[in-house]
Amino acid sequence: MSDLSDLYQEVILDHNRRPRNFHALPDASHTAEGYNPLCGDRLTLYLKLTGDVISDVAFEGTGCAISKASASMMTDALKGQTVAGGKALFERFHRMVTTPPDQAVEDMGKLSSLAGVRQFPVRVKCASLAWHTFKAALEQARKATTE
């Protein structure tokens, strides 16, 4: 059970049960749809940029505990960041979940709870879906989606 409890840590279960920033954002400046055709996980990410700052961020969708918790924690982490800061977080998170499980990874605070997916290679996509959607949203024109 030890690797299972690495995957389903209390903080992840909590974000799955009570996802933060889980709603639409009518005045979003950037939107993107994230979809994992393999498992059907689907989310819509809303960003509101005020100048260079991510002043608000929210999401909606359906998915497994890992994808939902990851999206929820990501929205918490991104709020108040600059665009460059958000992109840097994306890179750090991506590195963390793709580092082989026997190698050390940097401490990313709450986000580190998702490092447990490394022992479940098929679940890495669940953790990274929201982050890829964030990146897609930044690259879109106003209100555009990837679909």
């Binding site: 059970m1 690797d3 299972l4 995957l7 389903y8 279960l13 049960r17 393999l38 498992c39 059907g40 996980d41 689907r42 359906t62 998915g63 497994c64 505990a65 890992i66 939902k68 479940f120 679940r123 669940c126």
Partner: protein, 409 residues
């Protein structure tokens, strides 16, 4: 085993993979609707082909080529017998059921389709029995029509009948839903369609390893199945088609073996069924499939069906005993599939946790997204059963699901 006439332990001994462990736990393989495991007889037939008689078929005059051709054609005869087709000319080897459906969509349906025509499928089809028809409709301006299913997951026959129009060029319906386990009344479906002059393709991919699929009794025009769900190898499938249809249809793929003669001006086509088998076929696959059908018939489809019925009933009880579990697919005629959702837990999380207990189930949309949409769910967890499964294994699944409940308490 209680009340069923097969010796499951003896059967299990024939399947080498069932002895292995997964993560230190005995493998509990409940993903048979995705693919079944292979008995030693199938593995031996494949090895023996490559060890003793490997050569290309329908080619050389040499001894091995003749032996390989004999073995390949004996497999075709075995398939004919299994599905009770009238002639081996009606048995085309394909890569899988998907290729069989595509063959019919391209060579039979497309030339008959124009704007205003329609193709009729059902709401419980696998993507493989949706997308080829969508492509055919897009290319020809025809319309894809979908016969609805009810809340149990049964085809609504009256609606199917109503949707058969004078412009329906073909109906393509599954004999058994891979996502719900529903067994459809294929004979009645064919009867209704034929009453309106509509030819029917029956997708027997899921049905064929649970019940006898007799193409002459069904009177279907086309029937497809796949070897790897019949305890045979991957990469080999079967298309049955009435001879008159195959005679009238143009080839699907061009190449070697399917020709009568070739000049740069024009080519002529080989006789049936070779007209539809371009290129070197999956010889070992066909031979392995023949061995798989021998294995199934030695045990007996009726006995297998009785055993699996017992497992479905028992598994249903096990699942109903777990807090928050709801079965998806409760058709009165149902075989070998237990599709379910659990309150507050996504199917993928269920799949990951039970995998840690050595239990292999499928999670997600099962290549049947419209079915999931019909039931308003993103996906299900699906335990699917085969002749070698036991009640004990369903108890292991039940205990693994209790662990899921604990994690998500």
């Amino acid at each position: 085993m209680i009340g069923t006439g097969i010796d499951v332990q003896r059967i299990r001994a024939d399947f080498p993979i069932l002895k292995r462990t997964v993560r230190g736990k005995p493998l509990v393989y409940l993903d048979n609707a995705a693919t079944t495991q292979k008995p030693r007889a199938v593995l031996a037939a494949i090895t023996s082909y490559y060890t003793d008689i490997n050569a290309n078929v329908h080619r050389g005059v040499h001894e091995l080529s003749a032996r390989a051709t004999d073995a390949y054609e004996a497999a075709r005869e075995r398939v004919r017998e299994f599905f009770n087709a009238a002639s081996v000319r009606e048995i085309v080897f394909t890569r899988n059921a998907t290729e069989g459906i595509n063959l019919v969509a391209y060579s039979f349906a497309r030339p008959r389709l124009s704007p205003g025509d329609d193709v009729l499928i059902s709401a419980m089809e696998h993507h493989s029995n949706i997308v080829p028809w969508q492509l055919a409709c897009e290319a020809t301006g025809a319309t894809l029509t979908v016969a609805p299913i009810d809340d149990r997951g049964e085809l609504i026959l009256e609606a199917f009948d109503r949707l058969l129009t004078p412009r329906t060029r073909i109906a393509a319906i599954t004999h058994m839903s891979n996502a719900l386990g529903t067994v459809t009344p294929a004979r009645e479906i064919v009867r209704l369609a034929h009453a309106k002059g509509v030819p029917v393709l029956i997708d027997a991919s899921q049905a064929a390893y649970h019940m006898r699929v007799d193409v002459r009794a069904l009177d279907c025009d086309f029937c497809v199945a796949t070897g790897h769900k019949l305890y045979g190898p991957t990469g080999i499938g079967v298309l049955y088609a009435k001879e008159a249809h195959l005679e009238a249809m143009p080839p699907f793929l061009g190449g070697g073996d399917m020709i009568g003669s070739v000049t740069f001006a024009r080519s002529t086509w080989n006789v049936l069924p070779y007209k539809f088998e371009a290129g070197t076929p999956h010889i070992a696959g066909a031979i392995g499939l023949g061995a798989a059908l021998d294995y199934i018939d030695a045990i007996g489809l009726e006995a297998i069906a009785a055993h699996e019925r017992d497992l479905v009933e028992y598994g249903t009880q096990v699942l109903q005993g777990i807090d928050g579990v709801r079965l998806i697919g409760t058709a009165r005629e149902k075989a070998s599939i237990l599709s379910f959702v659990m309150d507050g837990v996504h199917p993928h999380d269920i799949g990951t946790i039970v995998d840690r207990e050595g239990v292999a189930i499928r999670t997600g949309h099962h290549c049947a997204q419209p079915v999931m949409e019909r039931f308003g769910i993103p996906g299900t967890a699906r335990a699917s059963l085969a002749m070698y499964n036991t009640r004990d294994e369903l108890d292991v699944l039940g205990r693994a699901l209790q662990k899921v409940r604990q994690v998500f308490a």
